[in-house]
């Protein structure tokens, strides 16, 4: 009969590893940092409509450094909100709107884009991101847009609740908001 010691030793080591892993898991998790990028899963492919809009970006959030706290882990927003929102508004190009951020050129509409809310939460194994943005723009002959757009998306975390999934959820919520905003902007341009 083989002595039981090696098996027991291995078992003991395995148990210790599991215990240490559990202890590490209960330690305060490091914050997740989102990047100032915008990457759509399945972007639309609309042709340029000739609608050119020059955006002024305003940050109206109450906690600009944070976009959520999930399982005791802070989800940090990109520090440069201008760069972040430029990347997001760049998504309008795929929706037929030509976006600019410099001084308005002739024939270009001016718009004020205010980021009001960007937040992500978890429900069981799903991340839900929601954003609220406000668009104020004036068109020809007194036509104007002044409304808020809401975007939301849910992403299943399965076993990878990493920063990539969080970023994808926030990007998806912005993409949802851009869809409706692009329609209004093109209507404004056409008017």
């Amino acid at each position: 009969m083989r002595p039981p010691r090696p098996k027991l030793r291995r078992g003991c080591v395995a148990l210790a590893v599991v215990t240490l892993a559990a202890s590490a898991a209960s330690a305060a998790p490091k914050p997740a940092q989102l990047t100032a990028t915008f990457d759509e899963r399945d972007p639309p492919k609309e042709k340029a409509s000739g609608c050119r809009v020059n955006f002024e970006i305003v940050d109206g959030r109450r906690s600009p450094d944070l976009v959520g706290v999930i399982d005791r882990r802070a989800i940090r927003a990109p520090a440069d909100v201008q760069a972040w929102m430029r990347a997001v508004l760049g998504g309008l190009a795929a929706r037929g709107v030509d976006v600019q951020f410099a001084a308005a050129a002739p024939g270009t509409k001016s718009a004020r884009f205010t980021l009001q809310t960007a937040w992500i939460q978890s429900t069981v194994s799903t991340y839900s991101a929601s954003v609220v943005v406000r668009l104020q723009a004036e068109g020809a002959a007194g036509a104007a847009v002044d409304r808020s757009y809401r975007g939301r998306v849910a992403r299943t975390a399965y076993w990878s609740g990493g920063t990539g999934t969080l970023q994808s959820a926030v990007d998806g919520a912005f993409a949802d908001a851009l869809d409706e905003m692009a329609v209004d902007l093109k209507t404004l341009c056409a008017g």
Binding site: C12, A22, A27, R62, T126, S130, A154, T156
Partner: protein, 315 residues
């Protein structure tokens, strides 16, 4: 004839009885070592009452109000398909898929309520409620109050370093709908954490871990919709109707009751807590929270969970 004494002893030790003894001894040591952290975590719990001697702390006490959400949350009943299918990878994936589907549906239903509440400042309401509640607590009324949305351990630990006080009373609010949208619920978790590092702690955030808290208690206020129908979509749309009138009233009522129950909670004695949690008090369940039934002079349902759980209808 020579008797090989040592081999015989070894052989004896390897015999059935010896093996079992070794297994028992090794397993005992293993389990004892592995169980140490778990055991200590179970044993160490923060105080559920603020003793008279703990009301004044060296270095003074500050208050931080936390609301770690931007809008009202939806909720789901988690899938139990993993259990029903006997667990495993397939069961887990099916459960995750079902939970995702339920979450997407709940998020869709809550959207009109969020839109209707877009100008309703819950963060401000939480701060005003806290200020009014603490004004009734003589030993807390002079404490400076700040606000944050970062309820993570690292965020709280940073607050302990940046706020010049020996202890911070973190009052964290969360608000959501029950999974069937029949109730709107507000929960306040009150935790006192010391700025000083606990003995044997190596990381600053250990100061806000549960076992090192000086005090922890919870208050829950639940407001039931007056119009409950069987279908959750029907309930959700009724909360959103008329500019979110019912949701606004329910939030206002739930926070108003917090103003009453927070000072009452902070004034509790150990004897009062023991009496409310006595097994002679009947158990009950309201809005997804369980507790023991307490006398309620105003007629609403009041449970002790531990922590007060107040339940009322919206008239």
């Amino acid at each position: 004839m020579q008797f090989p004494l040592r081999p015989l002893r070894k052989e004896a030790a390897r015999g059935p009885l010896g093996v079992k003894m070794r297994i028992a001894v090794h397993a005992g040591i293993c389990l004892a070592l592995a169980g140490l952290p778990v055991g200590s975590a179970v044993v160490a719990a923060p105080a559920g009452v603020v003793a008279e001697g703990a009301r004044n702390v060296q270095g003074g006490r500050a208050v931080q109000v936390l609301v770690a959400q931007a809008e009202i949350r939806s909720n789901i009943n988690p899938s139990n398909i993993a259990v029903a299918t006997g667990g495993g990878l397939i069961g887990g994936m099916l459960a995750a898929s079902q939970n995702a589907s339920r979450t997407k549906k709940a998020e869709g239903l809550i959207e009109p309520v969020r839109e209707a509440l877009s100008d309703f400042d819950v963060d401000g309401l939480a701060q005003r409620t806290t200020g009014a509640a603490l004004a009734r607590v003589p030993w807390l009324q002079a404490a400076p109050v700040s606000f944050s949305k970062d309820s993570s351990p690292l965020g709280k630990s940073a607050a302990l370093d940046s706020i010049g006080a020996g202890q911070i009373a973190f009052i964290e609010y969360s608000y959501d709908f029950s999974p069937d949208f029949a109730e709107l619920r507000v929960v306040a978790t009150v935790e006192f954490a010391n700025k000083a590092m606990p003995a044997a702690a190596t990381k600053p955030e250990a100061r806000v871990s549960r076992k090192n808290l000086a005090y922890s208690q919870r208050v829950t206020t639940i407001v039931a919709a007056p119009f409950v129908v069987d279908e959750k979509s029907g309930n959700a749309s009724l909360w959103a109707a008329d500019g979110g009138k019912a949701a606004r009233e329910a939030l206002t009522l739930a926070f108003a009751e917090m103003e009453e129950l927070l000072p009452r909670t902070l004034a509790l004695t150990a004897d009062q807590v023991a009496a409310m949690g006595a097994k002679t008090n009947k158990k009950s369940d309201v809005g997804g929270f369980q507790g023991r039934v307490q006398d309620s002079p105003t007629g609403e349902t009041l449970l002790w969970g531990p922590g007060f759980i107040w339940y009322s209808g919206l008239n």
